[in-house]
């Protein structure tokens, strides 16, 4: 089973990244759950959601336990969720996040300047989609093509098909910005 926690401040699109990843997993026919933080926690503070997916087994516990990957789009999110990450797990951070010198060393830190990349593509709101591409590559569970197709389908259902081309570009930029870290894929 895979567990990913997506965290940032409200408006950075972390819940949407989680939705895209969960939709990719559902499209591949996997068992999958998406659980958001909700209510007052969404106003100004950190927003987060947890996605779990698994090819074989039922997802027994959909809630946060021990993520294999943490996406931290701001520093409060990093500090809140870093202790929870599985030993040997991956921590993906955005432009504004600095990893403290004394941060735990049993996880792999990956830095992607997602806002800078998205802005250079003329799509400054696409930073979260850049991170989606990076996460798909890092996890190594889904092919690039299947992921983009599922992402586009998800936005089509929301009536946002006009963003498919720019979303695919942002996805690719993130996908190409990192190396796959996963040697034991859940899916393939």
């Amino acid at each position: 089973m895979r567990e990913i926690v997506f965290a940032g401040s409200g408006g950075q699109g972390v819940l949407t990244v989680g939705l895209i990843i969960s939709d990719i997993a559902a499209t591949e026919g996997l068992n999958v759950t998406w659980v958001p933080s909700y209510g007052s926690a969404m106003r100004g503070g950190t927003a987060n959601c947890t996605v779990k997916y698994c090819a074989e087994n039922y997802i027994y516990n959909p809630s946060q336990e021990q993520p294999d990957l943490l996406l931290a789009m701001n520093e409060p999110s990093l500090h809140m969720f870093l202790p929870m990450v599985a030993p040997g797990g991956t921590v993906l951070v955005g432009d504004t996040v600095t990893i403290p010198a004394d941060a735990r060393q049993d996880v792999t830190y990956v830095h992607v300047n997602c806002t800078e990349i998205a802005t250079s593509l003329g799509n400054p709101k696409g930073a979260n989609v850049v991170m989606t591409g990076a996460i798909v590559k890092l996890m190594g569970d889904f092919s690039r093509e299947a992921a983009i197709a599922a992402m586009n389908h998800m936005f089509e259902k929301k009536g946002k098909a006009k963003f498919n081309e720019s979303n695919a570009k942002a996805f690719d930029a993130g996908y190409n910005a990192v190396e796959c870290l996963s040697d034991a894929s859940c899916v393939r």
Binding site: A26, V32, W34, V35, I59, Y60, S63, Q64, E65, Q66
Partner: protein, 353 residues
């Protein structure tokens, strides 16, 4: 492929497909998306939707709709369900069917927004004034919630009783792949008001509560005999049997399967009806069982009272201890359930009963 759906939206659509054609209620986190969805969806299917001025007004409108033979629904959480109790008691008194959804959140008074199971006692003991019970269904996934909506209405009409769908914040807010059931063809209940004076008026002082009590006891006895629902696994040879419902119930299933793989003889009873409580499952438990363990999202332990009552009743010759693992709010991680199991096994946790 099953579509990813948000719990509350899938539940609302399932209610429509189960024949609900009237909704009245007042929004509250974490159940609000149910009424948000129905605010546009009811009109599409020829039903009625009212955003009431209060929870009390909402449940009173449900009384009216039900009396007119329409499958009626309201939803809320924590303090909102407290406000509806007078109306729920009236529905039960009048023998009017209705479904009430609660997405439980933690805390006393206004409480918090955290997912929890702190309202078990209120839902399973009637909740309002008087001498009645509601049938309480407690699904553990969005799919199970959706699949239980049509049975909920069938039960409420069969016994002319209120059915409480006792969810949790997580079940309303999470997304899972969901397969929606087909639409149910419903008929107006045969006893419904017609707009004419078909019924004899019975004043409060003309009622024979002793005669009604006989009928009430027969109804509740029939429900207890016929409507217990549960899932169980590994209880016939278990040294320890977990009892947990809802999302903690599914997490506990993960825990017992891991513990079994590690050689521990553990089992699970996951109630699907919290009332009637699945007493029949307890009769199947290994006679040499060393204890039952509840896993609960509350502080004081509520489910443990029922688990203890029925393990002592079904295993009278031995005083099998009942333990409670209370995690206050949020679904406990599987590794916490496992660690606490070993504390119980090692004698580090005192039994509740």
């Amino acid at each position: 492929m099953a579509e990813m759906m948000k719990g509350n939206e899938a539940i609302a659509e399932a209610a429509v497909r189960a024949g609900a054609r009237f909704y009245a209620g007042y929004p509250i986190t974490p159940s609000s998306e149910i009424m948000e969805y129905l605010s546009w969806r009811m009109e599409e299917v020829g039903g009625s939707f009212v955003q009431a001025e209060s929870e009390l007004a909402g449940i009173n409108m449900v009384i009216g709709a039900s009396a007119c033979g329409v499958r009626a629904l309201t939803a809320s959480s924590g303090p909102g369900i407290s406000l509806k109790q007078e109306g729920i008691s009236t529905l039960c008194d009048e023998g009017l069917p209705a479904v009430v959804i609660t997405q439980v959140r933690y805390g006393n008074g206004l409480g918090t927004l955290f997912t929890a199971q702190c309202d078990y006692n209120r839902e399973t003991r009637g909740g309002g004034q008087g001498d009645y019970r509601c049938i309480v269904l407690c699904p553990s996934s969005v799919q199970e919630f959706v699949d239980l909506m049509a049975p909920a209405y069938e039960l409420s009409e069969k016994y002319r009783i209120v059915v409480i769908m006792m969810g949790e914040g997580t079940l309303g807010q999470m997304m899972e792949p969901v397969t929606l059931p087909d639409f149910v063809e419903t008929k107006r209940t045969p006893w419904a008001l017609t707009g004419k004076y078909d019924y004899k008026k019975i004043g409060i002082f003309e009622r024979d509560s002793r005669k009604e009590a006989v009928e009430l006891r027969e109804k509740y006895d029939a429900i207890k005999e016929n409507e217990q629902r549960w899932f169980d696994e590994g209880i016939e040879d278990a040294d320890y049997v977990f009892v947990a419902y809802g999302v903690p119930g599914r997490a506990t299933l993960g825990a017992i399967r891991e513990l079994r793989a590690e050689g521990e003889k553990v089992g699970l009873i996951r109630p699907i009806t919290a009332w009637p409580f699945p007493e029949k499952a307890f009769a199947k438990i290994n006679p040499a069982c060393k204890g039952v363990i509840t896993v609960e999202e509350n502080a004081t332990g509520q489910l443990v009272d029922d688990a203890a009552l029925f393990i002592k009743k079904t295993h009278k010759d031995r005083n099998i201890p009942a333990y409670a693992l209370t995690y206050v709010y949020n679904t406990p991680p599987i590794r916490s359930i496992k660690a606490d199991y070993f504390r119980i096994k090692n004698g580090e946790v005192k039994e509740v009963y």
